[in-house]
Subunit: 339 residues, 4 copies
Amino acid sequence: MRMTVRIAVAGASGYAGGELLRLLLGHPDVEIGALTAHSSAGDLLLKHQPHLLPLADRRLQDTTAEVLRGHDVVFLALPHGHSAAIAEQLGDDVVVVDCGADHRLTSADDWTRWYGGEHAGSWPYGLPELPGQRDALVGARRVAVPGCYPTVSSLALAPAVGLIEDEVVVVAVSGTSGAGKSLKPNLLGSEVMGSASAYGVGGAHRHTPEISQNLSAVAGRRIAVSFTPVLAPMSRGILATCSAQLKDGADVREAYEKAYADEPFVHLLPEGFWPTTNAVLGSNAVQLQVAVDADLNRLVVVAAVDNLAKGTAGAAVQCMNLALGLPETSGLSTVGVAP
Amino acid sequence: MRMTVRIAVAGASGYAGGELLRLLLGHPDVEIGALTAHSSAGDLLLKHQPHLLPLADRRLQDTTAEVLRGHDVVFLALPHGHSAAIAEQLGDDVVVVDCGADHRLTSADDWTRWYGGEHAGSWPYGLPELPGQRDALVGARRVAVPGCYPTVSSLALAPAVGLIEDEVVVVAVSGTSGAGKSLKPNLLGSEVMGSASAYGVGGAHRHTPEISQNLSAVAGRRIAVSFTPVLAPMSRGILATCSAQLKDGADVREAYEKAYADEPFVHLLPEGFWPTTNAVLGSNAVQLQVAVDADLNRLVVVAAVDNLAKGTAGAAVQCMNLALGLPETSGLSTVGVAP
Amino acid sequence: MRMTVRIAVAGASGYAGGELLRLLLGHPDVEIGALTAHSSAGDLLLKHQPHLLPLADRRLQDTTAEVLRGHDVVFLALPHGHSAAIAEQLGDDVVVVDCGADHRLTSADDWTRWYGGEHAGSWPYGLPELPGQRDALVGARRVAVPGCYPTVSSLALAPAVGLIEDEVVVVAVSGTSGAGKSLKPNLLGSEVMGSASAYGVGGAHRHTPEISQNLSAVAGRRIAVSFTPVLAPMSRGILATCSAQLKDGADVREAYEKAYADEPFVHLLPEGFWPTTNAVLGSNAVQLQVAVDADLNRLVVVAAVDNLAKGTAGAAVQCMNLALGLPETSGLSTVGVAP
Amino acid sequence: MRMTVRIAVAGASGYAGGELLRLLLGHPDVEIGALTAHSSAGDLLLKHQPHLLPLADRRLQDTTAEVLRGHDVVFLALPHGHSAAIAEQLGDDVVVVDCGADHRLTSADDWTRWYGGEHAGSWPYGLPELPGQRDALVGARRVAVPGCYPTVSSLALAPAVGLIEDEVVVVAVSGTSGAGKSLKPNLLGSEVMGSASAYGVGGAHRHTPEISQNLSAVAGRRIAVSFTPVLAPMSRGILATCSAQLKDGADVREAYEKAYADEPFVHLLPEGFWPTTNAVLGSNAVQLQVAVDADLNRLVVVAAVDNLAKGTAGAAVQCMNLALGLPETSGLSTVGVAP
């Protein structure tokens, strides 16, 4: 006999919401309840998510606690600043999985500096592959899903923090879906196709403190992060190139093998193979490869992730599984859609 | 208690083979056996299919009857001309699902004209949504999987053959994976990105007689097909624009609603919605919409399909399900990976 | 001694305006004067046209007759409905080249049906390669630049109108820049990359009557047009597949060779070569190839054009050259930017 | 009265050769002579360069000294290892511009380590924007055109070498045309579209010593380079993210303004603007922007270049201009083809 988990998605008209529903439609234990939106409330879901045929007759409702109440799990795919109030109204028996940023940072000062306003507090951080995090997620009623760049950057560097100096450099090439459905000229197809561009340069991207928080927690000392995101002409995927000065001739590969040997979703590729984003498209896998630049004694790690899947919605489902005591991999896959 | 179906894939290094394995990895009743290739025999599968992590330790074997024997189902994803000989050696108890062209055409003359050489005979045609075809597939031991263009074009026009004149015009925009992994200069990324081009113009594409065969069979009279394929800068997907002169003011929409009301994979979209290829990416769905150009009294049907999924490998799995008496939709989905 | 032509561009923030300026920066006889916009007036041009470095210090002004007056040539790259009033205020000594639709259709009824409102009258039609059009453009003070689809479709079929039946079918695959910088969700990079979609299906696109007008004028009888535009994942370029029933065994190729033998921009490719949109990117060339489907006795013509160049801004420059008595090819090229 | 320069291109079937011809067709002082190739000798040029319509009737000849002799300038766009022998046979009165790697490195040890075999000696290095280089190119009979990555990386960092520590980190996102027309599976459109991947990771790319050579020469001390190239789904363009530890609070922006104030092709963008590769597509411009990460006191420079234009063929034309005493900017533009 199987338990059926009734879920709701707030923010179902966006890319993260759509990906949550795509994954949850394939989850054996989930029944999809209310789907809500803000300005699109009242619309057919199909207008915003034409790929979700099994939900073709669903309409978007308003994002209110009344609508969201009565589900076992509520996924929030909202702009930051909204989740604390909603979560409070839902009560402690509901599992709330927040894909937004509100509860990721543990430092209130960091929150105020990077996002502005008052810190809503931190929730268990949904990256179970980091040391110690999985236990905090088992049975959790609140989960903060990591940012997409912090997911891939943290997993790429965490096994090495004991072997490197205190500063890392991350340049991460991302597809455009990470920017959501914002109607900005620079996100138009005509602008992005055939073009690459950097943004948030010089340490200005809000994911910077989150990466630093993760690596510093693992290291037990402050790890500074130089982070530059680059937009590339693809819808999905992040390829992160992460490097750092090595302290000595430690066996880097061994550290990664050990760290991820038992992880279902993080794969260190065999030597000679390099990650590509289309190999993980739609999947919950992270593909990693490591190299040492012997001339500089510098570690270079390349990691690929689907920003919408393991980078957001896949992680959310993984965390729901942990929170509810389901198999961690239920409804998730390591098989990408390629080519 | 479930049956476990042991399958083999010949041609596992190519795009069709990769897609078969992607789908079969998610099929609840399937166990993946031998994987074979021609020039890549001996390689790690991962070298050719970096997205299939659960098979990361598998090696490709030679494509021989010895290797393929002993499986319940053998999928052939080979260049045309090879399947008859292999099938013969495998015996009648093995279900052979041929993704190649060898057994699609019923006319030996057509075969010789379009492909050259001697006709290997026709097998049950794997498009169960065409009238009468599903029954022929239930329990079949041999299946000819349709070509990708014939699949989408035939489904787009079959419900209308009673309402139209005898000639149809199909212009189908396709992603490049339909051309396989052939190392041709015009398939290089540098050439295809940012560019559209037609090929096989003037009725020269081999899928032309197959479309005509399907529509003529449904119509009970010869339907002539003007078919032009256009390569567009995307990896997957076909968008077919199909038109024909209407005989009279028949209710076209009703004909399509009736034809596909009970089909799990073919979806006539609600009015006002139009198919896009990314809405069906990776899925077994066909999305359709119909319009009538009142000035010309001309029917225009637009249909989207994933050429590798429902256009090839998804159809192959669907046919295996029918052949074995499994639920037709097992291991298949109508949910695309978008955006 | 050379004449210097002082030009202004109204609508300089958009794609057509940007392409006009790109071409005019390379025109030996042109000096660039006022650049105007609507909601972007006051902005640095660089904000909207980051590729126009030589104009990096220019600011956009308001689109008013006062600003535009005092130039020899004024290019209008505005939404339809605005050009008649502006042209009237500029006086007859100024050459006004309208990239919008206002003055393309000769039939007031067609205008009202397809665009609504009152017809502003027709201007000399800027497609000099059509029979009789070039003469009307020499010395003209007003020019209506054709739509991008009508340009490529008319040039693809005009030489054949005497050889075909009265109905043509055009399916034209276009890049997204044809839709301009409109901030619509379906034009976001995340939506268009990897996807093809049709729009204006069933004879609903406004370029339909313009194509019919052109072909009918050349034929001296009504040519009906079934036109379907398809959006493909590329910024620029149109590939049109145009077909029609042939009346008899006329030598189609000869008709095209004769029609375009002396045209500087329209190139019938050698047999065996097929047009691709990247071969004409940024150029004023139209590449054509013809085929006859012998089974159906049907003509199929494939034509490639850059929608922003020969499809809009290049044609506008070509027409300016004709209007002013400059060499027709000044500032224009048949060399595409490929790959 | 103008001088006419008669040029030949060896390697005219490839991407660099095609781009050279595209640019030279627009050069006011150039007449295009022999075009040669290796395995494609005898083919119509149009087969390999369908965008070069003015040369549509040209055929490729064999790459021999006999064919190349008798031109004022010979451009070599060949795999490395071939240029020394050809140049020797051409004599000292011919200007030889080598787009290959043979004569870029000054250190014979570096050559042997990175390319293997014996060093053919170094030629004047074709990056006139580096301190001291322009003078060496004026009147030169031999020019080594820089690699595409070294061009953009060196220009991005050279003005700062006095302000930074001794190690720089460069992650450069590149279009696929940089890899040439090699028929490799990973360069197929189906593989590259929608995907990003790194290669030459860990200091393995041959452009690494060239970047280090350039920066070290400017700095007067050894600058170590961590370089990672990333392939992105676009045909052209490189976006380099370059960073280094700052020594102190020097005014970085001022250093860049000063360095490039009089350069026609290198543009430091106004504050608030960031480079994109499509803004420089087809042009000889380099767009730069600088930022300082105050938390880390780290300089981050982002630079965009067209790898085929300023990154290869444009630089070659620029160097030819300098060698012959023509205006440095003849036949070149800072206007990109966008969107």
